[in-house]
């Protein structure tokens, strides 16, 4: 009797496990971008923007302004790649400091970072893939 219960439980759990691990192709792709982006964020962005995306005082803007990130999604790749020299208004405050460029980052790196940022710190924009990064980067002003 006891063994029957155990077997039944084991069956239920393994079925759940299999179902759970069956992510769709899109979900898997998103997860790949997101986790890759997290590692790159820690290497290239976190010193200034902090692990929780809150930035630093009025020196470094936060990444928690979901409206800004949504409205300026197509500019993010250029900002990451070429840095920022103009002032920028985020969260109702103006930031004047320069942001350093990251010319060494490939389109794929930038796509992963943007996927991570725009789906963390309260943002939820979904996948930003490498072809989007490529076309956005073609339209950079400099």
């Amino acid at each position: 009797m006891k063994t029957n219960v155990l077997i039944a439980l084991a069956l239920v759990f393994s079925t759940l496990f299999v179902l759970d691990s069956c992510q769709t192709k899109d979900e898997l792709n998103y997860a790949r971008y997101y986790t890759g982006g997290k590692v790159l964020y820690e290497q290239h962005c976190q010193n200034c923007h902090n692990a929780n995306g809150e930035g630093l005082g009025k020196l470094i803007p936060p990444l928690t302004d979901t409206v800004f990130l949504k409205n300026n999604r197509q500019l993010l790749a250029c900002i990451i790649k070429h840095g920022l020299k103009d002032s920028i208004r985020v969260n109702n405050a103006i930031y004047h400091e320069q942001m350093p460029a990251n010319h060494q980052l490939a389109d794929m790196d930038i796509a992963q970072i943007i996927t991570y940022i725009t789906n963390s710190f309260g943002n939820k924009q979904g996948l930003y893939d490498v072809s989007l990064a490529g076309s956005d980067l073609k339209n950079c002003r400099d």
Binding site: N47, C48, N50, L56, G57, K58, L59, I60, E97, Q98, P100
Partner: protein, 212 residues
């Protein structure tokens, strides 16, 4: 009633350890024995490394000297405002120290810029304000590299240098150096690591207790 001897010994030892003896921080840096004559007798005293006199300008373009730190314990670090690497992390952590001791007359913070060309006092002022720092408890010091670099390396034991290949043009270490009221070095902490900065805050309370 049966007593276990090791248990008794252990409890006595533990009681002995928790006596009123205050925890003290080590004294860091070089030291040398000096012979002195006290009441006609020759005694050997230890002279510890101390921070020498200095004079800089602060964020208000007002003279800032070692005398402004008399009777205070303070934390010193080296940074530059356009630093893209470790400085934001250091000062995010230093802000925590600032908030912990805000208004405490015995505690000061001292950040030296190592980029005297770009970081003029007015730049330092703007930086401090954007960081959310007002008042004179956290001082930002500006001075020639000929004065700042030797002070960093010889006296605070922090390596700083110019390097064209480093991000922002300078390499430097992110140490927070804790200095006591006699200007002796009492601790060095990695200012980029939150757990070490928490340790420093605890050690600063320990150090302040020495003067009670």
């Amino acid at each position: 009633m049966k007593f276990s001897l090791p248990l008794v010994v252990a409890s006595v030892l533990i009681a002995g350890c928790s006596s009123n003896e205050k925890k003290q921080l080590p004294i860091l840096g070089n030291r040398e024995p000096v012979e002195k004559t006290v009441d006609g007798k020759t005694v050997v005293d230890t002279v510890y490394q101390t921070i020498p006199e200095f004079q800089f300008l602060n964020q208000d373009s007002v003279s800032l000297t070692d005398k402004d730190f008399n009777g205070k314990i303070y934390v010193a670090d080296f940074f530059f405002t356009s630093c893209p690497s470790i400085c934001p992390v250091m000062h995010r952590n230093m802000l925590k120290v600032f908030k912990e001791f805000k208004g405490n007359d015995e505690v000061k913070l001292l950040s030296h810029t190592i980029d005297s060309k770009y970081d003029t006092p007015s730049k330092l002022k703007a930086y401090a304000q954007k960081l959310g720092v007002y008042g004179n408890q956290w001082q930002f010091a500006w001075g020639d590299r000929d004065k700042v670099y030797p002070l960093a390396e010889k006296n605070y034991l922090v390596a700083v240098n110019q390097d064209k290949n480093a991000p922002g043009g300078y390499i430097h270490q992110g140490w927070f150096i804790l200095v006591d009221k006699q200007k002796r070095l009492r601790g060095a902490y990695d200012g980029t690591k939150p757990d070490q900065v928490d340790q420093m805050i605890a050690d600063m309370h320990t150090l302040l207790d020495e003067y009670k």
